[in-house]
Assembly symmetry: C2
Homo-oligomer: 369 residues x 2
């Protein structure tokens, strides 16, 4: 099989400040303190279904060197730099036009760089099943995640029926719901979290984009005419930013007929918040941290990442301080303490949705007496 | 007048971790965020009463370069390095034997490097009065601080009578009291905090040490025989560590007759704890921070030191983070957050007496699940 994997690695992760910053966002960080960055874990997760030479990464210019450093196994020519972020549809289009030029019969998986999957064998089996289903066909398969709670932070995929680990038709993509709707989805049983993972052949993607996003497809044709010439970068820099800024979900998935979903209980998380990180830091007895990992669970339901974290009377806290020397925290309950590159966050877990704002705010905004 | 000032700068300040560390203890730090370190403020405070060429600093070998850097105005030969700390009596003896070799008729003030005085003009007047009283006599004068609260963390000086800003006889030196005793001292009115500042002539110190601490005086005589020779450092390194380890209070003050005290309301603090730092960070309207200073008072009775400190819903906190980039703190009441050199402390102000222990504890002592 001629399988290619496209890893989208352009995100910023601003809800995880100061651990994730625009200089080095979450996909390039060992968020769980286990000795591997999220993009390295993503490569590892897909390596059972794809040759290393068939991996591609789409990222921004600023992160190309980080990708080369963290994924030295993949071809340098497969690290694609977007001149500016235009959401996922242009990102995926660019990668697929590039793959098409090399290998028009390719069968493709597109995945975010920064999610966590616990059940990696089950995951690889689901991806294989999807690839078999799309190979040489016009089928599109998305990966659905069996919801474990009425989460309001994710989009949902409504399947025609509930058939775990089987490929079934998608009825509708659903926006992030309110809590009542999320509860209804959960009890209905045929709604799954949209993990942003898509499987389809190169020809199918291109054909779908020509149909549903002709502006983007037209630009890609013009960029593709320069592939391999000295004008490639110049053309890309000129034309890519003129693409419509739109997600692949809006541009294609919600318009396309015959989308399928394979839904599984994969132990998936987008690791988009400190509380999800806290939840997934492994407890020693259940999933030992490899030697060299800096994550630990500490009495009082605390989770810590760092070389020398000392807690006194703390409960249910997350201390994320990999590059700190010694961190002493006393008397906090349900708090996040995060330290990175000389920045410090001390914030109740219940306020974590405010972190983006707190860290973005201009210093003059804090009131002085 | 032939006045000399000896600044004792050997302390470690372990109750202020991580701001004060053995690598760079509190006397060498801009603890109040006003653009000057404590030892620089001490030099400035005494400069009205003493030529710059008559200042001396006794410190440990490890801090000699820091002293040279922070006090470039004073002669290099006046920066004395103790081979090891032996408390204040050997420290003062060493400085006085050195001064005696240069200037036997000197009149001397001995002071710690790391205290704060707000009322600097009143302070200079008190020191001048004490120097006039000791010039060419055997008198010894200590500086007493009018207590503002029943403090249990300082030693006290009991004066024969209460005469603010006048020199009166000392009845007794008192150890750190319990709270009931401290309250009794406060209401009695003739008990003053012992600031560790002593004024006396060089001849008086040497004579008192010969009488009450002959072991130390004998060693100093042997070291002094090598002054100015190539054997000076070797002799010092060999003999100084054999001195009895004892404070000047025990060795001399409590045994000597005719000790006097000049007691004043000087706005003095030993800045020995974060709460004392918090108290003395100036409010903008009462004592504006000079340009370039990083200290601010922020709504909610918070005090902050740092370039970009952002508080949300915090009350009565001290954030001390001069070398941090951005610090975000939310929802804390009565807390200390201190950041320095990659170390972080988050601790209730009410637990500040535990900081020394928390920061010294071996990491293996924190319990893991």
């Amino acid at each position: 099989m001629n399988t290619h994997v496209v890893i989208m690695a352009g995100g910023v992760g601003s809800r995880l400040w100061p651990v994730s910053t625009p200089e080095k966002p979450k996909q390039f960080i060992d968020l769980l303190g286990i000795g591997k960055t999220l993009i390295q874990m993503t490569l590892e997760r897909f390596s059972p279904v794809c040759e290393l030479s068939n991996f591609w990464v789409v990222t921004s210019e600023a992160y190309v060197d980080i990708v080369r450093e963290q994924l030295p196994q993949i071809p340098k020519s497969h690290i694609l730099a977007e001149p500016e972020p235009r959401n996922t549809a242009p990102c995926i289009a660019y990668a697929c036009w590039k793959i098409h030029a090399e290998s028009p019969g390719a069968n493709i998986v597109v995945t975010p760089a920064d999610a966590l999957v616990i059940n990696v064998q089950k995951f690889a089996a689901a991806i294989r099943k999807a690839l078999n289903f799309t190979e040489g066909t016009n089928n599109i398969v998305t990966v659905g995640i069996e919801p474990s709670r009425p989460e309001t932070g994710y989009g949902y995929i409504q399947a025609e029926e509930r058939k775990p680990d089987e490929i079934v038709k998608v009825m509708e993509f659903k926006e992030k719901p309110d809590i009542e709707t999320a509860k209804a989805y959960l009890s209905a049983g045929n709604y799954f979290w949209n993990a942003g993972i898509f499987v389809w052949s190169c020809k199918t993607i291109i054909s779908e984009l020509r149909t549903h996003a002709p502006q983007i497809a037209g630009i890609m044709d013009r960029i593709a005419a320069s592939f391999g010439t000295w004008k490639e970068k110049e053309t890309l820099d000129e034309l890519f930013p003129t693409c419509e800024k739109i997600s692949i979900d809006y541009a294609v998935m919600e318009k396309s007929k015959d989308i399928h979903v394979i839904a599984s209980d994969l132990g998936w998380s987008d690791l988009g918040s400190f509380s999800s990180i806290k939840e997934h830091i492994p407890m020693p007895e259940e999933d030992p941290v490899p030697d060299g990992g800096a994550a630990k669970a500490i009495e009082g339901d605390n989770k810590v990442i760092g070389q020398d974290i000392r807690l006194f009377g703390c409960e249910r806290c997350l201390i994320h301080a990999e590059d700190a020397r010694t961190v002493v925290v006393s008397g906090l309950k349900d708090y996040i303490v995060a330290v990175k590159d000389g920045n410090v966050l001390v914030c109740p877990i219940s306020e974590e949705q405010m972190i983006k704002e707190y860290s973005a705010i201009h210093p003059d905004k804090t009131k002085k007496v």
